[in-house]
Symmetry: C2
Subunit: 170 residues, 2 copies
Amino acid sequence: LDKITGDVASAAEPRFLVKLALNAWEVQTKRADAAFGRVSDEQFFEPIAPGKNRVIYLFGHLIAVDDAIFPLFDLGERLYPPFAEIFVTQPDRQAADLPSLEELKRAWTDVHSKLTHRFHEMKVEQWLERHTAISAEDFLKDPSRNRLSVLLSRTSHVAYHLGQLALVKK
Amino acid sequence: LDKITGDVASAAEPRFLVKLALNAWEVQTKRADAAFGRVSDEQFFEPIAPGKNRVIYLFGHLIAVDDAIFPLFDLGERLYPPFAEIFVTQPDRQAADLPSLEELKRAWTDVHSKLTHRFHEMKVEQWLERHTAISAEDFLKDPSRNRLSVLLSRTSHVAYHLGQLALVKK
């Protein structure tokens, strides 16, 4: 976060408020990064609880959902299009072949570092533009359906699965 | 959320950005409210996964952590001071006596409805003031340690445990 010296006028700037939301996103993704980093290769193939999704599915799921932010923000195509089918559309244990752990770990870092980089380039006005899943007409009726809301929602989504990951012994 | 008619100038107002964060908080707390509402009385005493915290502990934990926002935002005392010891300081199954489910359900609604009410009264400047757990001196060095950051962090905290609650069969 930029150093801003307690000046209320500058603190109340929209840019600063966007930074707080970005900071919350980075806190959760860094926590997830650290938590997945502590998981052993064997544990990636264990369920988070008996009969539940495996850690590898959770990992791929977060990569795929966050990767979808690129098209949703009109920042380009997904980096890993096949992951959407394997880790979002299909439930765990359905896909005949999963990407390797190595590939997933590379993809995790790739998606999140590129997203964070793009996020930091975005101006306040861009955060307040509609995301591509809402029509211009509907957005006029509800301008809260913007990119910043998606960021807040994705932040909670990472936290949600992080809570599940915490159940796995490390 | 207030209806604001797609006007970029007003959308970029700090007040609107605070509303987006408040909206994210309400989405998560309403989801938690609905999810706990689907839990049977018996299930409240079951663990979220073998050997893990029971649902009732999660429930009390969220009440206690969110109740602590009142003093943290200088909005008054906690409504349920004893819950902090039972559901935060102590791990699950340590307390000799737990509050009844009825009492907890009343406290959940009480804490969250009063918090939401107070949140809606707060002005942007108040959201950007320091929380009471940081000194004025440290806040000068890092003005991001304000109430809005706490709100974003508590939103993720609710989502975190919501992910765990989702593992319980309903």
